[in-house]
């Protein structure tokens, strides 16, 4: 009788642990998908962005080059952390078929301009006051960086401040992807 009771207790404990585990996976498992972004492997949504220098830039006109698309805000501390690395990488890839584009979100123009002057961003930077570009890319915070291959397909998304080596890995991957990748999926 005592042995049976112990077995019952163990069975109840195992069942509870199993239920919590399964429930946890069902709830938090999806968050991994969110970070991976359902847009990876699809065509990068096209947009036209007003640049801080007064001109504008259309994404689809950059086809044929690998693209690093970085979403940032002037109030975002991790954005400031990654800014020098982005600038150094842009200088490094300047003579390669690679384009860097920054999109300023949830910010005001004067703060964004001060930030750009301070961190000396030489590559094109634009603003998204309506939030259409950021939602089109499924952005949920700053900084977030997308890597797009020369055919216009999103190859990777990086959430958080970029660290040394990450840019090289993802850009090389995007450049490698350029060899005859047909655009099967439509990302918007």
């Amino acid at each position: 009788m005592k042995l049976l009771s112990l077995i019952t207790k163990i069975a109840i404990f195992v069942a509870i642990v199993l239920m919590i585990g399964i429930l946890g996976y069902a709830i938090f498992g999806n968050r991994v998908l969110l970070k991976k972004s359902p847009l990876i492997g699809t065509n990068a949504p096209d947009f036209t962005v007003d640049l801080f220098n007064g001109s504008n830039l259309k994404l689809s006109e950059l086809r044929g080059k690998a693209l690093l698309l970085n979403f940032w805000s002037s109030w975002c501390i991790p954005c400031r952390d990654e800014a020098p690395l982005l600038e150094a990488s842009w200088l490094k890839y300047r003579n390669k078929p690679v384009v860097f584009v920054g999109v300023n979100i949830w910010d005001d123009d004067s703060n964004a301009l001060t930030y750009l002057k301070k961190y000396g961003s030489g590559y094109p930077n634009g603003k998204d006051p309506t939030g259409e570009i950021l939602v089109d890319y499924g952005v949920s915070g700053v900084p977030e960086t997308f890597f797009i291959d020369p055919s216009g397909k999103i190859t990777d998304k990086y959430t958080g401040p970029l660290i040394d080596g990450i840019i090289d890995i993802f850009l090389e991957k995007a450049l490698l992807n350029s060899n005859g990748n047909s655009l099967n999926k439509n990302g918007g």
């Binding site: 109840i12 069942a15 239920m19 399964i22 429930l23 996976y25 069902a26 709830i27 498992g29 999806n30 968050r31 998908l33 969110l34 972004s37 359902p38 847009l39 979100i105 949830w106 309506t130 939030g131 259409e132 950021l134 939602v135 089109d136 890319y137 499924g138 952005v139 949920s140 915070g141 990302g187 918007g188």
Partner: protein, 164 residues
């Protein structure tokens, strides 16, 4: 002259009537769009908030999402199209109620299983405690009989002693 005066009055009234009609229609359309935006926003979870829908959240992202929903509603997109647009960008986790597919089935089935097995467990527990209570009562009854006999024997013996 009198007839002409009525006609003039009617002519004056006509623009006012038309204006109120147009305003009424506009208000009705606007309310309809507001309702649709509110309904769709309440079906989507804010990706940067804890347990808040896009309709409830005041975050910048939720505001942007609401204005995009409004734009899409005005452009005539259906609720399904708008929801699918957000799912394609943020994944299934943006949905207020997870779709019943894959591992998500567990979210729908676990409460049912918990109810069934919990109910069975409770029933078993109640049944067992009642059994134990009855068994204990029987045992105490069995034990009380010899005790009482001994007690009455002692009384008899004492009474006999007093009498003698």
């Amino acid at each position: 002259m009198c007839k002409l005066s009525h006609l003039t009055k009617l002519l004056y009234l006509l623009p006012i009537l038309l204006l109120s009609l147009i305003t009424g229609i506009n208000n009705s359309i606007s309310e309809n769009i507001d309702d649709q935006v509110s309904e769709i926003s309440s079906l989507l979870m804010c990706p940067v908030c804890q347990g808040q829908s896009v309709a409830e959240s005041n975050s910048d992202l939720a505001k942007d999402m609401r204005s995009i929903i409004r734009k899409k509603v005005q452009e005539g997109e259906s609720q399904e199209e708008i929801i699918s647009y957000f799912v394609n960008r943020y994944g299934d986790s943006i949905l207020g109620s997870p779709p019943a597919k894959g591992v998500n089935w567990l979210l729908w089935l676990l409460p049912l299983f918990s109810l069934i097995f919990g109910g069975l467990g409770m029933g078993l527990f109640i049944y067992r405690s009642r059994e134990t209570r009855i068994r204990n009562k029987n045992l105490s009854d069995e034990k009380s009989i010899p005790n009482e006999t001994e007690y009455f024997d002692k009384i008899d013996k004492d009474l006999k002693d007093i009498e003698s």
